[in-house]
Structures are given as structure tokens and as C-alpha cells.
Amino acid sequence: MTTLVISSIGPASSVQDGGRPGSQRYGLVPSGAIDRLALAAANTLAGNPPFTAAVEIGPFVATFTARGSAVRFALTGAPRNADIAKRPASFDSSMTLADGETLTLGFARGGAFSYLAIEGGIQGEPVFGSLSVNARAGLGSPYPRPLQAGDELRVAAASSATERRIELPAISDAPIRVVLGPQDDEFSDETKKLFLDSEWKISATSDRMGYRLEGPAIKHLYGHNIVSDGTVNGSIQVPGNGAPIVLMPDRGTSGGYPKIATVISADLGRFAQIQAGRGFRFKAIGMAEAQKELRNFVQLIGALPDRLRDIENFDLNLEALQDANVAGSAVSAIDTHTWETKTWHVTTPD
């Protein structure tokens, strides 16, 4: 039996895959990886279908040890310093951990969530077709909760496949694109302009349910209570205090606050990776453009295997690693105090 033993891991880390859509009419939210492209890229490197279950790692340090045999894996998403038995390990590449070796990950920099995909996936019992953790509903496998030190993931022994790297499109720092609505008519034109023209920051109290935004107060025209209606990933709801909340994959399936706009699907992962405290802006686009971007995004994920490259020589790798180590000295102090899993004590049913 081969296992990946988690010797240490921070909060906000869990097993996630493509999620379990189809039961939202019963109040069960799909969950799933917060950054779909990073999940798909990690799995592609590991030789898996794109939405295979992987470890979504929150911004804190984590260590993984192979037991029983070698384990082939890939890291993507928020970059960090990483090493295997003091050898630097690279992101956006597949690698193999020999039996007994430990992969050590530092704090995330330039993002929030990293993905560790393992060749052959993670063994577990899917519920509604998914291993994704949804702690509120007691769902997820092999553990129906965020990961903890001491957890063991049953995985496959490494194959002898050649190691690969993947060339991903550069991550844009352009504004996060939204489609206005469904309740933008609950806000005045001036308020909508304020929402779109202001700089926003993600609050430290954010989690997989929702990202709270810090910026100017967004005032409602007719009060903050609407009769509950359905939500989607990326719904930007505005509660009574005027501080918008962007709903994330563990959101409630319905909510009773007006929703001024919705983050487009293609930008959700990029939005999720904005570090707490860092400024960003929104930009409204039309439906046709949003749907075109989604189709492009779906194509990008489908064509990830075309972006795989053999790792020709060590020099190339070394260069990337040196860059990583230089930037690694800039680990943000904000990280260590943010992203704690503060579960849903603020939200109540409507």
C-alpha cells in the first residue's frame, strides 16, 4: 500500500476535485476546487483527467511524505518555496518523491491556494460523484473535513513516466471581470459606478464560502433584505453593512441579500488567488463577451495536454528555481494571519 502522509498542514487545506453539481435544488452546494485551472494543470501534469481529486493547500506551510513506494505528483497554483530532501522542487512540473522522502512547502506567495495532484489520484469513496470536502454537509473523502497533520492519503505507486513541465498562460493582473446582476437594479447608478471604479481588497476573514471585500460601503436603494433566491459561484452579494461578499464554492445555495454583479467563470480562479490585503478592481463586461471567455477557458482546460513539455535539461529548471528563491524572501506577513477557516458563523438562513 502506498500512502502520502501529511506531517503538517495549515487550515483551509482539503481534498477537492471538480465538485458535485446537480443537487443544488436540495440545498447541497457543489463545492470543488476554488481555482479550476490550477487543479486541471496539476492533474494534467500528473497524467490524470483534469478534475481528478487533488490536495488544495491553503497559504500555510505543509509537508508530505511518501510511504510504501515512490509517489509521482505535480504542484501548481500559488507559488511557494518547495523542496524534496533539500533539493528544490518546482511548480508547474511533475516530480517524483522516493519512498520515505518528504516534500516541504513554504508559505504561499503571490496567491492563496496551491494544488498537489498525485498520479492516479487520491483513493476515496465518492459521494454524488465527488471526493470534494464540504465540511458543513459532512461530505468528502477520505476525510469529510479539512486536512490535518497525521492524515494519510492512499495513492498509487509512481509509474516510470517521464517528468514534464507545463507552459501555462501568464496570470493577468487585469481587473476581475463581472456581469452586472441579477439584482443590480437594487442599486443606484452612482453606487454601481462606485462599485466598478473603486479599489477593493479581500478581507482576512474570507474562506471557501465567501470572500469578504473591503472598500467603500455599497448602499442599497431599497434595503438589504430580498426574498431568498439562488446563488452561483461568483455572486457578489451586498449585506446590510455594505461590504460585498463574493460567494465561493462552499456558498449557501440560496441567499437573501441583493447581488449587484457576478464574477465571470473564466476569472473566478484568478480572483480566488488574490492575496488578502492586495488591491484589485472589477470591470463590467457584456454577456456575449463573458460567454466567449468561458468557452475559451473550457478550451484552454481541454487543451492543457498540448502544453506539456519534456523537461530537457536541469539548467532550465535551476533558473526557475533561483527566481523562485529570490522572490521567496518576500513572503508576506499578511499571509500568516489570514485565510483562517472561519466557518459560517455570520451567515444565517433567510
Partner: protein, 243 residues
């Protein structure tokens, strides 16, 4: 000839969902139109629709824009929503046992005081109601019921509780409901049921469907304890009295 139905508002919820809004308020006619559209989409197997989420006043339609665009789907939904609401051939009707008051319904006494009546009267009125599952949402199995008599309408609590027990039966605003999982709530807790509206590894996992009818029956705390054990073992407990 009946007056034509007012067209719903078709509101974009991002690039992959449309909110079909029939009303801005909780109203029974809107709820019936929501459920009728939900059935019509299922009946016609509308291409590109991936799932639907009924609420009191709107239907959220998730779709795959690779298969169908916003304009084409809006047109189809408007057409279906404009059709007269057909009578429902079969409605499932459930009777759900509830242990009212005491430790299981810690707000019953206060609700009675506020409404200037007795706890028994509150229970009698709640049990006499004929409810419909208008929506299931927020957390798995949380069933929001329409049909609460006006006398029992009450503003929600000023300070929502951070944790209320699984199986709580409560009232809030013009609604009553059964919550399946323990969690926060700003509603007034009248009692508890052993019925799990959501239970993994049980067939069916989700007991209630939007549109189902529900009535309640009062039971004592001892019966609740027995039923709770049976429910834990996978029994449904709720009684299907018509289907």
C-alpha cells in the same frame, strides 16, 4: 379567457445561470409558477440546462453556455413561463412528527407570549397548517415551507443563534421550515423532528422535493427519542400519506 400571465424577469446570474424572477415577494401564485416552470424544463429536457433551483419567487436555471447562449435560453424560458400553469396530477403529501416545546422548542413559550396566546394554541395552529415545500436551500435539506397562517407570522430574532439543533422546526417571518443539519438560525424554534430530510447512504438521500405538501403531527419527547434512534439507523420516519 384567462388573462395572460405576466412575463417573468430574466436576470443574468453570471455567464452560466439565469434567474427567472416571477415576483419580488413571497407569494403563493409566484411559487406555483416557479414550480410549474421547473417541471416544464424537466419535461421538455431543455438542452444545455444543467440544473434548476426553485425558490419562493424565482427559478435559478444553471446552464452550459458551450451548448446554449443566454439569448436562446432566455427565449425558451420565457416561452415556457408564459404557458398556463397545468394542474399537478400527483402531489406527495408527508406527515412529519414534531416534539414541540420544552428542550426541543425553546422559543415556544416566548412565541406564545409575543402573540398573546398559549403554547398549546401555537402548536394547534402549527399542526393545523397545510404547507408546501417552496424551496430547499441554504444547507442540505433545509426545507422552506409556504402556507403558514398569518397569526403565526413573526419577525425574525434580533440576534440570530449561532447554533440550532438538527431537525429544528421553526418559524421566521411569513415562513416555517424544517432544518436538517445543525447550524445558525434567526428563526423561532418551536420543536424538533427526528426526520432527516437529508441523510447520506439512505435511499432517498433527499426526502422532500420542492412542491411536496407537508403537515405536522405533535409527539412527546419520549417518542422523539425513539424515532431519533430509528432515523439514525436509516428509517424515514416521515409518513407518506398521499402520492
Amino acid at each position: 379567457m384567462a388573462a395572460p400571465l405576466s412575463p417573468p424577469r430574466l436576470l443574468p446570474s453570471g455567464d452560466s445561470a439565469i434567474t427567472v424572477e416571477f415576483s419580488r415577494h413571497i407569494d403563493d401564485a409566484a411559487s406555483q409558477r416557479v414550480l410549474a416552470l421547473d417541471r416544464a424544463i424537466a419535461r421538455d429536457a431543455v438542452g444545455g440546462v444543467t440544473e434548476t433551483v426553485p425558490t419562493y419567487r424565482s427559478l435559478l436555471v444553471h446552464y452550459d453556455p458551450v451548448q446554449i447562449g443566454f439569448d436562446a435560453l432566455s427565449e425558451k424560458l420565457a416561452e415556457l413561463a408564459g404557458q398556463p400553469v397545468p394542474p399537478v396530477a400527483h402531489t406527495r403529501r408527508w406527515r412529519i412528527p414534531v416534539a414541540y416545546g420544552g428542550e426541543h422548542g425553546i422559543d415556544l413559550e416566548d412565541v406564545a407570549k409575543t402573540l398573546q396566546t398559549t403554547p398549546d394554541d401555537i402548536v394547534a395552529r402549527h399542526v393545523a397548517g397545510d404547507y408546501r415545500v417552496a424551496m430547499i436551500g441554504f444547507t442540505p435539506g433545509w426545507s422552506y415551507l409556504s402556507g403558514l397562517e398569518k397569526f403565526l407570522h413573526m419577525p425574525r430574532r434580533q440576534n440570530p443563534r449561532l447554533l440550532t439543533p438538527a431537525g429544528t422546526v421553526s418559524v421566521g417571518g411569513v415562513q416555517t421550515g424544517v432544518q436538517c443539519l445543525a447550524g445558525p438560525s434567526g428563526w423561532h424554534l418551536l420543536g424538533r423532528t427526528a426526520v432527516r430530510t437529508y441523510q447520506l447512504h439512505r435511499e432517498p438521500t433527499f426526502l422532500l422535493e420542492p412542491g411536496d405538501r407537508v403537515t405536522f403531527a405533535g409527539i412527546d419527547a419520549k417518542t422523539f427519542a425513539e424515532q431519533d434512534r430509528a432515523a439514525e439507523a436509516g428509517e424515514i420516519i416521515a409518513e407518506l400519506i398521499a402520492s
